[in-house]
Symmetry: C2
Subunit: 402 residues, 2 copies
């Protein structure tokens, strides 16, 4: 087995296109001819296909498969597809609210990206195709013909973690064209994810561009960190570790990593970007595991952030012994009092009614209430999904730095 | 069907990890217990598994599948996998040279990313898992513990194409820490690809970091454009067009787009980065479709680039009428004479022995020979593959700006 002369797909397709184009301009197009010559690999189907009433039809050519369905992220039931006589499987959703929907085909049990859809998200190991059902809200999630900010992937030194680490930084479109200073929002991802999560699944660049253009938020820098203490960057780019993001990342987060946020991440950003270096101009938010980290970081550093967002998580004690629970409760009570005394402009909590973390959020609210600690609580429909986190982001950011 | 309370995979896995961790530290680990509770979704297999002799074993859990193989990018034959009694399919390659290998599982005809491998490339619509077989050459393709440059995704205005367009820019690690000027290498992708191709499949950031750290190349800025005239950015991020990258992109490239390179791309880069704005400090290279564009751009602009790289393509006349061929031949002959007269430091052509474009490269060489136009020709093994283009990049860049 060796590398050989391949009719590379790119090239053979291009030549096919050229020939097709030549036929087209010669006026002798025969659609039948083209359809006949298609191989499974090249079959072009309209998928996803958004219908007038915002139902979405999915199609895949899989003549050898016995069973094909569509798994939509955050939905309780797969959509069963039906095979036609040449092997095209088709299925349609109910009418959908305008939003981004991530999905994969399940072909005989295997997860398959939609081969006819260029659009996919990645976070951690998880790849999914996605479809944008158009409307006012989902229009915030796509690139419109307005000015766009820059996304940079930079590296900083972390002596505390003993490695160089990558961070994603969004700077607004006007950043390059003036010498102004900017406030900064720090964003933390969920478990099993990485510094790309808020970009690919969260659509932060598109949302920021749109909300800035609409005048709904103050132009700000957005910093997206990798919050797995044992990863220097997304495993997609670095050599994978034998022990991956999950367990070590999570447990280190509770201690070693969260310390580095104020000692290493913020100094790096403030030294390398034109930022206001004060509490009034710093915000932090995180989802799920990131929301636990946000609580840890802000409880431990009451003078650093004026705006705090905790998305879809509250106080988690799972896996702790009764002694650990009691000790962490005492520490938390003290720290919440200190944070309250130091003051903050906004403490925002968001959670879906059907989120499995709902109970942890209720516990957080109860704890804060006990201390008469002010917060804004937003309860949405839905569960532990990026559909909610994108939406929370669009609700949270307009309240910052005003 | 509605968004519901999901036991999100991230969260349920995390909780599983926490419990597992708790069990582990309690010293009552029972590996059997964990294996039994695995669902198909969660099954963790070692895949890819690099063996001592650089053979690679692939594994996937697909109990419902009838037929599973592995397709390796650039290989002529798929590897047939064999099923065990619980539904794990396994297969092993021959010993492999150190390199990056892109692959997908083919499960009952459908292309499936390796669910146990976080590492995948994307270019255009094409997603593939990849494995790095370690060695001296492939060590250039991975992040080592050295200083890393920054990757920025920026947008520039293109009045000529009537849209804003995204460009990827690599700046070396020392760029932020001095006020020096830098030379610039412009890189063009192949057909059906986009501005991310050289990053994800070409591993430009890793290669640049490594070659700079080894002192083998001059620190330089690398600019990676989207060369499909009808796309503002990768279709992964923008709303997909009804007519996609392929045909329109290719045909516009031959005219409208290549003009914008010197009129719009270069001025944007030179206004926004610390660059030497002269021919001596500009290089350009492209592969396949990008190599055609490089010839067009440099033939039309003999005073702009001192270093020119044409990878895996030569003179292409497919789809042209005899009159078009004759006309383009005359124009080319004139332009080559002009380019020769204006001078250049390096004209580098690379091609694989087994590349289907080999004949077009022979035609280019013959044409240049006829004009006594000096060039360096590198003939490698292999075909029209990113394995070759990464390698050409590591051969070409050390010759620049010296």
């Amino acid at each position: 087995m060796k590398l050989k002369q391949i009719k590379s797909r790119e090239l053979s397709l291009r030549i096919k296109f050229i020939l097709l184009f030549t036929i087209t301009i010669s006026g002798v197009v025969n659609a039948q001819l083209d359809a006949k010559s298609l191989t499974p690999k090249d079959t072009v189907l309209k998928s996803p296909d958004i219908l007038q009433d915002n139902r979405v039809t999915f199609r895949i050519f899989a003549p050898k498969a016995n069973d094909v369905s569509v798994n939509m992220d955050g939905f309780d039931k797969n959509i069963q597809l039906v095979r036609d006589n040449i092997g095209i499987w088709t299925g349609t959703t109910d009418p959908l609210k305008d939003d981004i929907y991530e999905y994969t085909f399940i072909v005989d049990g295997a997860k398959v990206l939609d081969p006819n859809n260029a659009q996919a998200t990645r976070s951690g190991k998880k790849y999914q195709s996605f479809v944008v059902v158009p409307g006012e809200e989902s229009n915030l999630y796509v690139y419109n013909d307005i000015q766009h900010g820059t996304l940079s992937k930079r590296w900083y030194d972390s002596p505390l973690l003993g490695m160089k680490r990558r961070v994603c930084v969004y700077t607004p479109a006007d950043y390059e064209h003036n010498s102004k200073k900017y406030p900064v929002l720090y964003l933390l991802h969920g478990g099993m994810e990485d510094e790309d999560a808020w970009i690919t699944r969260g659509r932060v660049c598109q949302i920021m561009d749109n909300l800035i253009a609409q005048g709904k938020i103050k132009p700000m820098i957005v910093v997206m960190t990798n919050d797995n203490a044992n990863q220097s960057a997304s495993q997609n780019d670095i050599t994978p570790l034998s022990s991956e993001g999950g367990i070590k990342g999570f447990f280190n987060n509770a201690g070693k990593y969260t310390n580095t946020y104020v000692k290493e991440v913020i100094p790096f950003i403030e030294m390398n970007y034109r930022t206001y270096n004060n509490k009034e101009n710093r915000a932090i938010a995180g989802l799920s595991m990131g929301g636990i980290n946000v609580q840890t970081i802000t409880n431990n550093n009451p003078d650093v952030f004026n705006y705090i967002g905790v998305f879809s998580i509250g106080i988690v004690s799972i896996g702790m012994t009764p002694e650990m629970i009691e000790k962490s409760k005492q520490e938390r009570d003290e720290k919440i009092e200190v944070l309250k005394k130091h003051g903050y402009k906004l403490y925002w909590i968001g959670c879906g009614k059907d989120d499995m973390t709902y109970g942890t959020v209720r516990f957080l609210k109860k704890t804060l209430d006990k201390h008469d600690f002010k917060y804004l609580y937003h309860e949405s429909s839905g569960g532990h999904t990026w559909n909610n986190w994108r939406r929370y982001f669009t609700i949270f950011t307009p309240m910052l730095f005003k």
